[in-house]
Each structure stands twice: as structure tokens, then as C-alpha cells.
């Protein structure tokens, strides 16, 4: 029977490289997919995923199992780093924004990735929960989560009043909280 993530992390804490590589094998495709989705630049996405796994290796105690599964901890780590990077990148490139960003890898690539069954199940639940949001809620949430835009920036870029933006984010998060509980 396969070891649980928690068991693997226990071994990572004792500097067991094989356990670390098994965790990487389980979550690399999900983490990389998320980083590419946010950053849209595969080279930078690789740096971000590498840094996130380095954090797991160097500070496995940062994960608290009482606060949820390892996947949410890891993907949150990747998301925060990716959003920070995309914001920095935007500032650095403000004067020379590229007209045509590099293409995001096609979704067909997912065909070559075999996921653990429970991870694939959860992925389906998340997508269904997202689908249940109103289009306005989903679009607003995606702008914040995947593009790293703040309330004010979403309001500015979309022309929607900031109070409405805040309401949509809050409503979306509440609905997802209930759907994914």
C-alpha cells in the first residue's frame, strides 16, 4: 500500500531524499500546471515550482496536518509564489509589455500525465464547484486568483464598481467553501 503524504513528509523531515522525490512525483504536474497557468511563462514556472519544493525539503515542519491536506499546502505555496512573481514581472516589464505573450501549453498535454485517483477526484470536484459559480463570480475570482489582481485593479480593468468586485469575491469564496467542505 502506498505511503500517505504525511508518512512521506515524516521521512522528508529525516532528510530522506527518496520520500521527497515521491512527493514531487505525486504533485509535480499539478504544481507545474498551476504555475504555468498563473505565470504563462514555463521557464519562470519551473523556478517557482522548484522553490516551492525546496521549501518542503528545507522546512517540512511548515506543513501543519491539522490545517488540511498536503496538496492544499503545496498548491497554496506555489500559488503565492507565482502571484508574487507575476506581480514583480509586471512591474519590471511595465514599460515594455510584450504584445504577444508566449503561448500557454495546450491542454492536450494533460493526456500524458497520470494522476493519483484521489487527486483527480478532487480536481473534478473543484472544477464542478467553479462551474456552479455565476459567470461574473467566476470571472472575478479567476482574475484575482490566476492573474494576481487586487480588488482595486479588477475594478479598474473591468469597470465594475469596487464594492461589487468585493461582493463577488466574497460570495464566490463562500460558495466554494460550502461546495468543497
Amino acid at each position: 500500500m502506498a505511503e500517505t503524504d504525511l508518512e512521506l513528509l515524516g521521512r522528508v523531515a529525516t532528510r530522506d531524499a527518496a520520500a521527497f522525490e515521491e512527493l514531487y512525483r505525486r504533485y509535480a504536474a499539478a504544481a507545474y500546471g498551476l504555475a504555468v497557468r498563473v505565470l504563462r511563462q514555463p521557464a519562470i514556472a519551473q523556478e517557482i515550482v522548484q522553490e516551492a519544493f525546496a521549501t518542503v525539503w528545507n522546512a517540512p515542519e511548515a506543513f501543519d496536518p491539522a490545517r488540511g491536506p498536503f496538496r492544499t499546502f503545496l498548491l497554496s505555496l506555489v500559488h503565492h509564489r507565482a502571484v508574487d512573481a507575476v506581480r514583480r514581472e509586471e512591474r519590471l516589464r511595465e514599460r515594455e509589455r510584450r504584445a504577444n505573450p508566449p503561448p500557454v501549453p495546450d491542454e492536450d498535454v494533460m493526456d500524458v500525465v497520470v494522476e493519483e485517483v484521489d487527486l483527480a477526484d478532487r480536481r473534478r470536484q473543484v472544477r464542478e464547484a467553479m462551474h456552479e459559480l455565476s459567470p461574473a463570480q467566476r470571472e472575478t475570482l479567476e482574475l484575482m486568483y490566476f492573474r494576481g489582481w487586487s480588488h482595486a485593479r479588477i475594478a479598474r480593468e473591468t469597470g465594475v464598481p469596487i464594492g461589487t468586485v468585493k461582493s463577488r469575491i466574497w460570495a464566490a469564496m463562500r460558495r466554494l467553501r460550502e461546495a468543497l467542505a
Binding site: 531524499a17 521527497f20 514531487y24 509535480a28 504536474a29 499539478a30 504544481a31 507545474y32 498551476l34 504555468v36 497557468r37 514555463p42 519562470i44 519551473q46 523556478e47 515550482v49 522553490e51 525546496a54 525539503w57 528545507n58 511548515a62 501543519d64 490545517r67 488540511g68 496538496r71 492544499t72 503545496l74 498548491l75 497554496s76 500559488h79 502571484v83 512573481a85 514583480r88 519590471l92 491542454e107 498535454v109 494533460m110 500525465v113 487527486l119 480536481r123 473543484v126 472544477r127 467553479m130 475570482l141 484575482m144 486568483y145 490566476f146 494576481g148 489582481w149 487586487s150 480588488h151 468585493k166 469575491i169 466574497w170 469564496m173 463562500r174 466554494l176 467553501r177 468543497l180 467542505a181
Partner: protein
């Protein structure tokens, strides 16, 4: 300040997504220090929103990691080699580090002409920022622990500082918000029976300032903060700005 659960809930939803603007972010930081640790409702909300934020990462399509990433991550776990950041990663992380440290501990990089020294400064700042981020993550974890202990430290003005720990752990955090820039550094001290010990100075990270306390806080009688101009001061050289008794 009294807190409205609905308002805090809305702030927490934006907080976990990293989408709050400056004013709301400052308010959320205060709520996380002053209200959430003591409010079961808001603490549960925060935990639930964190799970949502992590799970949203499953929404995009999975993409097979390239071999270069596989190799880079494998190198992380080789104990004989120290992981390094290169290229864009160093530049971006260094920018973040400098931004995060701007203020009390700002070092004007343009005064550092030598490229090698400049790189060392950036690397040091990056390491410090990563440490502070780990501290803040651990502190927030302590703040939502069911057995947490929160010791408010009273001080002048809007200053809000608490000693936060889980009894039985040999660590804790002194964490505060709305601290005005000091003349030198804010140094934390623990005392008992005329003996004093310091975990060091408060380090700023965004809207909060904190220091990790590597001791069992309940083995001390008092915690206090002084403003020190000199570094490595062995004992407090001025009257405490804030102070609190530690009950067991």
C-alpha cells in the same frame, strides 16, 4: 476596536487570495492579530478559506513537469550541494526581498558598487525575507491553534503587539502591527528575578513586525520591548515601551 464577523469574513476571503489592497490588507493584519485568534467563528472561516485557496490550484490542467524541473528538484534533496537560485529567480526574489525590507532595515543598494558584494547583500536579504515568511506562517498557525495563548502587550498610541505561543512548545512569536519606525531597533526582552534574555529585534515584513522566540515563554515572568540604538545590547538600556506579565 470591536470587530464585525461579516466584515472580518469578507476580509479573510480576500486575504487568503492575496487580493486585498493596502487599506484592507492593513485591516486584515490587525484582525488576524487582535480578533481571529480569539474568535472561533472567524478562525474556522480562515481555515476553510485557506483550504479553498489551496484547492483552487487544482482547477488548471495538469502539465507534465519538464525534465529540467525534475533534475532541479532532485538537486534540492542532495545534501552535499546547497540549493541555488539562478537567473530570473534571483533577480525577482531579490526585488521582493528589498521591497519587503524597505523601511527600518533598508540598505540602499545603489551605494553598493561592487557586484559581488551587491549579490551577497541581495542573497542575505532574500534569506532574511524567506525566514520571516516562514515565521509568519508558523505564527499564524499558532494563532489558530486551539490551545494557543495570547498575551497582549499594552503600549502607546495605536501600537498593537502580542506574545503568541502554544503552551508546551519551546517557541513563540512576538508580533505587532502599526509600529512607528524606531530610532534604532525594537528589541524584545524576557525577564525573571532580575535576569533578562532577548530573542532579538522585531523584523518588519509588510504590515507586521515579528520575532521568533526560541524559549518556553512561560518560564519567564515578563515580556517587554525597548528601543535600542546599538546592536547586540546585552541588557535593556531604556525604559520599556510596552510590557506584559506572563501568567502560567
Amino acid at each position: 476596536m470591536s470587530w464585525d464577523h461579516e466584515r472580518v469574513d469578507e476580509l479573510l476571503a480576500g486575504y487568503v487570495l492575496g487580493g486585498l489592497d493596502e487599506e484592507d490588507a492593513a485591516l486584515a493584519a490587525r484582525a488576524l492579530i487582535e480578533h481571529v485568534p480569539e474568535c472561533d467563528t472567524c478562525r474556522r472561516s480562515l481555515e476553510a478559506y485557506r483550504l479553498v485557496e489551496g484547492d483552487l490550484g487544482l482547477a488548471p490542467p495538469v502539465i507534465a513537469a519538464p525534465e529540467t524541473l525534475d533534475a532541479a528538484v532532485r538537486r534540492v534533496a542532495r545534501p552535499a550541494r546547497r540549493p541555488t537560485l539562478r537567473g530570473w529567480g534571483v533577480a525577482a526574489a531579490a526585488v521582493a526581498a528589498i521591497v519587503a525590507m524597505t523601511g527600518w532595515n533598508a540598505l540602499l543598494l545603489d551605494r553598493v558598487g561592487d557586484a559581488e558584494l551587491r549579490q551577497e547583500v541581495l542573497t542575505d536579504r532574500l534569506a532574511t525575507t524567506e525566514t520571516l515568511q516562514r515565521w509568519l506562517q508558523d505564527a499564524m498557525s499558532s494563532a489558530t491553534h486551539p490551545k494557543r495563548s495570547v498575551v497582549p502587550m499594552t503600549g502607546p498610541g495605536k501600537t498593537r503587539i502580542v506574545l503568541l505561543y502554544v503552551p508546551g512548545d519551546d517557541r513563540g512569536y512576538v508580533i505587532g502591527s502599526d509600529l512607528p519606525p524606531p530610532e534604532g531597533s525594537y528589541v524584545v526582552w524576557f525577564s525573571r528575578d532580575g535576569e533578562t534574555w532577548t530573542p532579538g529585534k522585531l523584523e518588519r515584513l509588510g504590515d507586521v513586525a515579528l520575532v521568533r522566540v526560541e524559549t518556553d515563554p512561560e518560564s519567564w515572568d515578563q515580556v517587554m520591548i525597548t528601543e535600542e540604538r546599538a546592536s547586540d545590547t546585552p541588557t535593556p538600556s531604556s525604559s520599556p515601551l510596552v510590557v506584559a506579565e506572563i501568567s502560567r
